[in-house]
Symmetry: C2
Subunit: 696 residues, 2 copies
């Protein structure tokens, strides 16, 4: 029986449901004499797996001299044997990149100074960062391949025991997008040639030069003449197509790179599931191509820090963080894998803000509440940096659960409390978070920030922000729990479907929504009615289905709407007034000052031409009313709407409710838990401390 496995619902060890609880443990930092003790401490706290980078810059200090095991902090084999002895699984992360607050993000100096031609280039052909390479540059791959081979040699005997997973590279795309540019390296991307990657992508998408010329408003006669652009007049659809295509192409190269690294590992006889870590929730959807290309058995996880320094959005886990990790894990679930936080905060490289025990436990419990099935603490324990390799400290303490010097951080208790909870609730691996209604989205709408067609009423970026900070947050403040679905997948006809609608929506999804309505599904459309498809060409299928209502720019409607069953609802932003009711429709939403129409109901479809940011409690009250009318059943009511909840169940009768006070001061609330038919299962008064997550 395989020691470690996973499917779309969860993880198993030796056939038993078990949370993957991993701890980042760098053999190249932690003093070797203390490995065993710290590993045992981790196991005692409920851990079952360790993870470590295998830093290229440490193992190949000069080109051609690849060293494993000459000194304790390069002794990967000893590390694996110790883990095996203690009984912990291991995930190895051989890179090439590690980041990890290492010099050159973990790449060897000789590579960057000796072969600067491998560095990524911006649209002007300029290198924009000293240690950001072009992933698929043949010379880079040549050098990396040798390292991977040596790595494989060293670890092959340990595959399966204790090594049960391998990560390819690290936080892909970060080295480019965080430093101002995608990669436009001509050698890698092949623009200006007939058969380079970029022209091949274009050929595959457009088929003929004529089709490309039409799409791009160009007049080229060969694929080699098509050059990418990085900016332009965004009121020009052709410009937007070119920008969007390049972005999709770039994401495709991440997929190709991931597959290539995987192929190397297989060629060298290393068989274990492959994983990769999206750097943060906002980047998850850059990996849709990678997930598809890597196929079944690939684990895309996400990294869920709440703070790494004073510039972050918060110093501690907050409801905003809760929503951030929520959609992140919903995305991973929808991609077909057990949601995994491949970098769960274990500490921080900064001393300020501090990582405090109560905050950390709240973070873990919140991630669990929002969908987590496995995690890897970054980091569990550190030590002195390998000489000459640390970028942020001499000693990589990270304020981790076990300090660099081996002493226990008070946060170790948080680790242990959480570990024990996961152990005693392994049923959650097969369980799921109940949702009252489903929010639908398109994958590409969640990665559109750089590609907006000017003049849209509701850009995909603004619409996705509304989906998160408006709709999801509002549902979190209501007794109607949300669930997400990607609209090009299967839709559940038995629960209301809420779709924040941007101006740009693919024909495929517009048709899917029409089908949903035709089959009797309860559909709530919010925002605008799309008028363009994903190629920025006119597409008004959904509008026409609803009778082609005339939508006008709102004039002096104010930020308040009236929804008759509830009255006035404030802090809303009308996007349109509806000039006349479509045939067969009735009024649904009006602007109280002017009496203008802002939304209508036509059969089982409701349309409200509004967006909002969650602000005042009249908003979730309205949503509760609307959703009840659409047949939704509440999950958990918190009388104090600022307390988030999550109801977990499996098909064997297990149930629990998690109640989250993600604020800095105590709060009280009354919790009502509902059954699947809306019957009250329990009611409870709770006093919650600051940063407390209570489990009922």
């Amino acid at each position: 029986m395989p020691k470690f496995e996973f499917d779309r619902t969860g993880f198993k060890t030796d056939g038993r449901d078990q949370f993957m609880i991993s701890g980042e443990f760098h053999y190249f930092r932690v003093p070797a004499g203390d490995w065993k003790r710290r590993m045992e401490l981790f196991k005692a706290a409920g851990g079952n797996c360790l993870a470590t980078y295998v830093p290229w810059l440490i193992h190949e200090p000069e080109e051609g001299r690849i060293v494993f095991g000459d000194v304790p902090n390069r002794d990967l084999v000893r590390f694996l044997e110790t883990a095996k002895e203690v009984g912990l699984q291991v995930t190895l992360r051989p890179g090439p990149y590690q980041y990890s607050e290492l010099v050159n993000d973990g790449l060897p100096d000789w590579l960057l100074t000796g072969y600067p031609e491998v560095l990524a280039q911006n649209i002007h052909g300029e290198v924009f960062r000293e240690s950001s390479v072009s992933y698929l540059h043949p010379l880079f791959l040549e050098k990396a391949r040798k390292y991977y081979r040596a790595f494989a040699e060293a670890v092959r005997p340990y595959m399966g025991d204790p090594v049960t997973m391998l990560q390819v590279d690290n936080e892909l795309a970060g080295i480019h997008v965080w430093f101002g540019s995608l990669d436009y390296h001509p050698v890698t991307m092949g623009q200006g040639t007939e058969n380079g990657r970029y022209p091949c992508f274009l050929k595959k998408k457009y088929g003929t030069i004529a089709a490309l010329n039409e799409a791009y408003a160009l007049n080229v006669s060969s694929w080699a003449e098509v050059m990418p652009i990085a900016s332009g007049d965004k009121s020009d659809a052709a410009v937007c197509r070119r920008l969007q295509d390049y972005y999709d192409f770039y994401c495709g190269t991440l997929a190709e790179y991931s597959c290539l690294l995987t192929a190397w590992l297989r060629e060298d006889g290393l068989y274990a599931p492959i994983c990769h870590n999206s750097a943060n929730p906002t980047m998850n959807s850059m990996f849709t191509e990678t997930v598809e290309a890597m196929g079944e058995g690939f684990l895309l996880g996400s990294d869920h820090y709440y703070t790494l320094n004073q510039m972050w959005k918060q110093n501690n886990p907050t409801p905003q963080y809760g929503i951030h990790v929520y959609y992140s894990m919903e995305m991973m679930r929808l991609m077909g894998m057990p949601p995994s936080v491949l970098e769960m905060p274990g500490g921080t490289p900064a001393d300020t803000p501090p990582i405090l025990p109560e905050d950390l436990l709240a973070c873990y419990m919140t991630n669990l509440a929002m969908g987590m099935k496995g995690c890897n603490y970054y980091i569990y324990t550190g030590g002195p940096n390998f000489p000459g390799t640390g970028n942020t400290a001499g000693i990589y303490d990270y304020n981790a659960h076990v300090h660099a010097d081996g002493s226990l951080n008070p946060t170790y208790e948080s680790l242990k409390t959480f570990g024990k909870f996961c152990e005693s609730h392994s049923w959650m691996q097969r369980g799921s978070r109940r949702g009252s209604a489903v929010i639908g989205f398109e994958w590409k709408s969640t990665r559109s920030a750089d590609v907006e067609y000017a003049g849209q009423v509701f850009t995909r970026t603004d619409c996705w922000e509304f989906a998160r900070l408006g709709l999801m947050y509002t549902m979190m403040c209501s007794d109607m729990a949300p669930e997400l679905v990607n609209l090009d997948g299967a839709l559940d006809l038995f629960r209301p479907l809420i779709v924040p609608c941007p101006s740009v929506m693919s024909a495929k999804v517009q048709r899917a929504l029409i089908d949903f309505a035709e089959q009797g599904g309860q559909l709530l459309l919010l925002g605008t009615l799309p008028d363009l498809d994903e190629e920025f060409r006119p597409c008004t299928l959904l509008r026409e289905y609803l009778g082609s209502p005339e939508l006008k720019k709102p004039f002096r409607t104010g930020a308040v709407v009236n929804y008759a069953p509830c009255g006035d609802v404030y802090n809303m932003t009308p996007l349109h007034t509806v000039e006349a009711l479509p045939e067969g429709a009735e009024a649904l939403l009006t602007a109280p000052r002017s009496g203008q129409l802002l939304g209508f109901k036509k059969g089982n479809v409701r349309f409200m031409a509004v967006k909002w940011l969650m602000n005042t409690f009249d908003q979730p009250a309205m949503l509760e009313q609307l959703l009840r009318e659409m047949g939704a059943v509440p999950c958990v009511r918190s009388s104090n709407r600022n307390i988030f909840t999550a109801l977990w169940e499996d098909d064997k009768g297990n149930r629990l409710t998690m109640v989250m006070n993600l604020y800095s001061s105590p709060q009280t609330t009354e919790i009502t838990v509902y059954g699947r038919n809306g019957e009250v299962l329990r009611t409870e008064q709770l006093k919650l401390a600051a940063m407390e997550v209570r489990v009922l």
Copy 2:
């Protein structure tokens, strides 16, 4: 004896030192039958003053029909009489603008729909917001003058008792800068004419057309030909001068407007100090012209919210907020007035994030610690919105200390606790926060964000960010308390002066620093050495004084520096390497990897070509060492550097230390308080709850 007075140090009531503790109390919202009780509750909680807007849109609902007293919620006189009876002073805020979550920001509908010509215009001549006027538009002034006159009529008998202060307009400039543009209304600003405001400003600054042509790289022959620009090629100094001049000109119009409104009040016989509220700390320095023009006796305060909705930087007071309000109040102190928080959070218009009692008390105590001498709670209590005027709610509850329905919010206790503390510590009105070393800045460097000369090594914007998030934050984490000074004012030779140096620094200030050094002052320069003056013309006085060291762009120095007495210090950003030591200088700071020089000491001047964001504790450790060498004396040491402290003293032997845990979880620390000669006065172990400010 005047009932209410203030000088640069603090407030007095009837000759006694007393914190100004004011509460926003809208007679147009609070039910009149409950005014007295709620006023008494405020007095019982330590309040001594009320404040209210006098909303134009409520008192002049149709043009020409100005109504006071027809209904209880328009009965300003009854409100004043009630306040007088209860024994509370009153600040009246007649506008014209109020904001206050009122429709049209408090302006009457008929004004905006009937006279759209008064609306502010962007550079293209377009109206950019329905309710943003051009403050000095003659037609707007004409309409507002009538309202002011009627207001004066109504309140004149109450001047002095209970009305002791008047605010002109509200959060000036917000209606423009928050909506994307300064005001370029040609009728108001007069561009394109010979004698309009803008050409007059230019005449005053440049004197001759020739001088203007030289500065602006133009070839005009009359003042009327000079048009403002709102954008341009910022690598062109002439463009930057034009942008910066217009910004300064615009700030000058705020001064003119404030003086005009004040003149109206005086003409109508209303004599009381005038105040105005900068919308937030970042906008304080937009009012330097206003402060100068209004002269002695004018009170510029600032509004210090920590959150008003989910989009704010934090859900509760944080150290970052602490630094934000710190520099804000230092600025007000340096402008010559008792630092006043004219809108101190009393609640929020949003229901999420919630305003919690512990957070609120921590907020008040933090503002006190950081310099506050007076405050006005926004709001203390509210009620139903005057029909048709509310923009965010039907009932303006604001989650205030006393709810709209009259019930006590748990936050009332926070109000009371703080009120009692202020009452029993009135000596702090004459006291001051002790500083170990002084941070110097130029006023215009704190408002440069829109006017950056491209190609600078260290823009004023980045430098000011370093001053706040690097230097101030680092000092807050050290035992060396900061104090600010504006470098065009008097400098204290007896304490070290630390100057974050941008590329642009006026000749006046460069000379002031040279004088300071010549007189033996200990000077620490951080960042770059200026090479331009405030007109973007070459000015290297300071560089030359230090021997014109050759500064080069750093290459692969890494983010770590070596300061010999401390060793390696991480997470630093070198801006230059120093190619050779100037004559008479010694090495001070090096890049450990390359050995390159990053800073030197020449006599009593130290220069370090670095900036940083406060990140790891080696940074404050280095600063403590440096400052000790420069003769600074520590104030308070917190063993846990994430706990901020403030040491308050007066010249009568009163002293207290405030210890702030502005995090969401408990922390412990050991506090050591030092006397003026560095002697240990006391040591204490403290366990602090989340959001606790302890006073020793």
